[in-house]
Symmetry: C5
Subunit: 98 residues, 5 copies
Amino acid sequence: MILCKVIGKVVCTRKDEKLVGGKLQLVIPVDCETLKETGKTQVAIDTVGAGEGDIVLVVGGSSARLTPLTKTSPVDSAIIAIIDTIEANGKLTYSTGR
Amino acid sequence: MILCKVIGKVVCTRKDEKLVGGKLQLVIPVDCETLKETGKTQVAIDTVGAGEGDIVLVVGGSSARLTPLTKTSPVDSAIIAIIDTIEANGKLTYSTGR
Amino acid sequence: MILCKVIGKVVCTRKDEKLVGGKLQLVIPVDCETLKETGKTQVAIDTVGAGEGDIVLVVGGSSARLTPLTKTSPVDSAIIAIIDTIEANGKLTYSTGR
Amino acid sequence: MILCKVIGKVVCTRKDEKLVGGKLQLVIPVDCETLKETGKTQVAIDTVGAGEGDIVLVVGGSSARLTPLTKTSPVDSAIIAIIDTIEANGKLTYSTGR
Amino acid sequence: MILCKVIGKVVCTRKDEKLVGGKLQLVIPVDCETLKETGKTQVAIDTVGAGEGDIVLVVGGSSARLTPLTKTSPVDSAIIAIIDTIEANGKLTYSTGR
C-alpha cells in the first residue's frame, strides 16, 4: 500500500454499471517524512469516507476489490484507511490529533 | 485507475478468439490539471463507447476483466468510464459541459 | 496491453513442465507513432504464431493466463494478437498491408 | 519479493474492517550489497513480528494475501520473512548473527 | 517474464510457514544482448534448481504461484526456467553449450 493525499475527484455519468455508488477520488503519493508529493496522480475508489487533504492508505491491484464496496467492481485502486499518525525514522512526521 | 486520453486505435485480424468484439483503443496517461501527456501509450479495450479525444478512466491488471464485455478475455487494460469533470486542488480543470 | 516488436527468442530445456509447447519470444515495447523501441525487453509466450519483426499486442499479469494455451501456466506475459494497422493522432502510423 | 528495511509505522482508526489486527509497517527497499535505500517507502502489513531496523522480505500484489493473517484482507504488500543473511556476488553482505 | 542472472541468496528462519522448502535466490535483470545488469535485484523462489551465475527466466505476480512448489505460497517472483540460448536481433547472444 502507499501513502497518498486526496487532492480532488472525478465525475463520470457514462461508466461501467458497477462503478455506481463509489466516489472516485484523485490521490497523489506522498513522502512519509515530508508529505511532499512523490509520484503521479491516480484515481482511487473511496471506501472509508475520506475528504480532500486527508492522508490516506491506497491499495492497488486485485486487492482493491477485497472491500465490501468493491467486491465485483472493475477497480484497481481503493482508499482503505485514513491515516492518523505516521512514525518514520524515529520521528512523528504526521498526526491528525485524533 | 488512471486518467488517459484516447488518441487512436489498433486493428488486428490474427488474435486470440476472445478479443473479438471489443475495440482496441490507444490511450495515453494525462495530468489531472493540465491534461498534458505524462506517460507511455497503452492499448485498452473499450467497454463504454469512448471516442478519440475523450478523457477516460482506465483500469489495469485483473480488474480489467471485471466488466460484462471482458469477463474471460486476456486483457489487462480497459476503459471503464468517460470523464465528465475533473476537480483538482480546488479548481475545475476539465469539463465536457454535460 | 502494450505494443511490442518481436526481436528474437529464448530456448530452455530445464523448465517448469507447463512451459512445454509454447514458444518463448523476446519482445520489446515500441512507440505507436515511430515504432521505435521505448522500454526493456521481456519474454512473452506466443499464442498466435508471431514471427520476428512482427508488431504484436502483449498482455501482462494474470491475464496472460486467459488464453487456451496458457490456462494453467506460470506465465505473466503473452502475445495475444498480431497488429495489422495502428492509427495514432489522426495518422496511419503502421500497416502490414493485410 | 524485495528486500526492505523497516523504518516506522502508520496508525489509523478509520479503516476497512479487515485491516484490524495487523501492524502497518513503513518499509523502504534496500540494495542487497550496501543495504542503502533504493526506492520509495511503502506500507506493508506485518505477518512475522518484524521490528524497526530489521531487513525483511516483502511480497506484493495478490500474493500478499496468501498468509494466514491476510487471507481476505485488502492488502497488496506484506512482510513475510525477517532476513538472517544475504549472500550477493560471492560475499556475505548482511548477517544478524543468528 | 524477464531474463535475470542469479547472483546470490538470502536465508531466513523467521518466516511464513509456506516459505519452507524453497530456496530464495537473489536475481538481477539482464539485457538480452549484452547480458549486462539492467534493473534492481529481487528475491525469487527457485523452482528448477538454478545456481549462481545462471541466466534464468523469472515470472512475477500471481503467476509465480502456478508451479507445483509455489501453489499456495505468498510469493510474487519465481525462477521457472534455466536459459540455454538467447537469440536477439538475428544473433546468438548467449549459449550454455547444452
